[in-house]
Symmetry: C2
Subunit: 205 residues, 2 copies
Amino acid sequence: KDILSANRKLAEENKKLFDEHGVRAFDFLGAIGSGKTMIIERLIERLGDKYRIGAITGDVSGNDDYLRLLKYGIEVVNVNTGKECHLDAHLIQHAIEKIDLDSIDLLFIENVGNLVCPADFPLGTEKRVVVISVTEGDDMVRKHPVMFGEADIVVINKIDLAEYVGVNPQIIISDYEKLKSNPMIVKTNAMLGEGIDELISMMEL
Amino acid sequence: KDILSANRKLAEENKKLFDEHGVRAFDFLGAIGSGKTMIIERLIERLGDKYRIGAITGDVSGNDDYLRLLKYGIEVVNVNTGKECHLDAHLIQHAIEKIDLDSIDLLFIENVGNLVCPADFPLGTEKRVVVISVTEGDDMVRKHPVMFGEADIVVINKIDLAEYVGVNPQIIISDYEKLKSNPMIVKTNAMLGEGIDELISMMEL
Ligand SMILES: Nc1nc2c(ncn2[C@@H]2O[C@H](COP(=O)(O)OP(=O)(O)OP(=O)(O)O)[C@@H](O)[C@H]2O)c(=O)[nH]1
Ligand SMILES: Nc1nc2c(ncn2[C@@H]2O[C@H](COP(=O)(O)OP(=O)(O)OP(=O)(O)O)[C@@H](O)[C@H]2O)c(=O)[nH]1
Ligand SMILES: [Mg+2]
Ligand SMILES: [Mg+2]
């Protein structure tokens, strides 16, 4: 399809731009409500002294996530995708025009909540971090092989709720290990910040 | 767009077919892991003596939900959408060819987990039931105005977990009441079957 190859080209251009300005960019994907914003909040709290951080929040509509991240005093750009259920490299190319890339070291991009379409649209980031929640069930990886095949790191969030939904996180981990030879997967409770240090070391920050 | 008007035409044809065979069809939508299958399981348990029930399970890939519903001894058809993150009227038209519509009274269709794209693709059902989970946060309605504008009934599921995610269900309810003049909204715990009788009466079953 032309759309996907055009997107890949723009993603390469974004990547070059990040590299030229020494910006390390990360794409946070995952289902609606999995905890993407909260994970990013915890990362900003832990890394804000060490790095200058910027963010892009992607949502179909509204600015809830944008306002949440703005509270941390970092540079944030909000992108509303309207009908599209994913961010693409073109939208990111325009969003980064609004950010002074020389003034940041890290860029956290929160993608639209969806485990399907975003898999086909790389943005030009260093790593793709897929955040799932145990409350979504233990069949996430089996149902979305493309998304998990494209992931660099998988975060199993809301680990504190596993017993209440009858989910064994080990099932998710072994499904993912079947897909990837060298899997990077971490369990977190973003509410209390548990597992965040382990995530930071997987992101090599 | 041609795709959406073509879909509406096919949805009308599906609706006519349901009416001719006296089948009442319901489309269950919602984010990934919100509890759609579990809600349908509870409905089958409560209504299985009163009605002859069939089901269609839509997923990007895999047959987890199909196997879960098959256990109830009802007729089930599985539809894998591949790259598409929604069911459409065309896929349903083919799926119902595999079901003897004269042998069922109710048809439960579980849509692909996604709060964006399915909103634009009516299937020809009597009602669209949108299932959200409190674990997804309290901003669901604000972020997805099109989906909730199209909903006939909204189910706020996993109500037992609200305190653990710091979510007040009342915020979701008042956001929805701002969108709809005559809102039908119900709180459930599908794990224990709480709120299911209220949902059944909203579905007029
Ligand atoms: N108990 C618990 N709740 C969590 C955790 N992480 C997030 N939450 C809650 O889950 C809900 C959703 O979190 P968000 O950070 O908004 O999730 P999101 O993925 O950014 O959501 P969208 O942007 O709407 O797709 C909120 O009510 C959070 O308080 C966790 O680890 N444990
Ligand atoms: N505590 C609690 N857990 C629930 C409730 N409803 C569903 N669950 C759990 O939530 C997880 C997801 O439920 P499913 O019924 O598979 O959700 P779904 O919407 O069909 O998921 P997909 O088809 O994958 O999009 C499972 O682990 C269920 O046990 C509830 O009311 N309370
Ligand atoms: Mg968010
Ligand atoms: Mg399901």
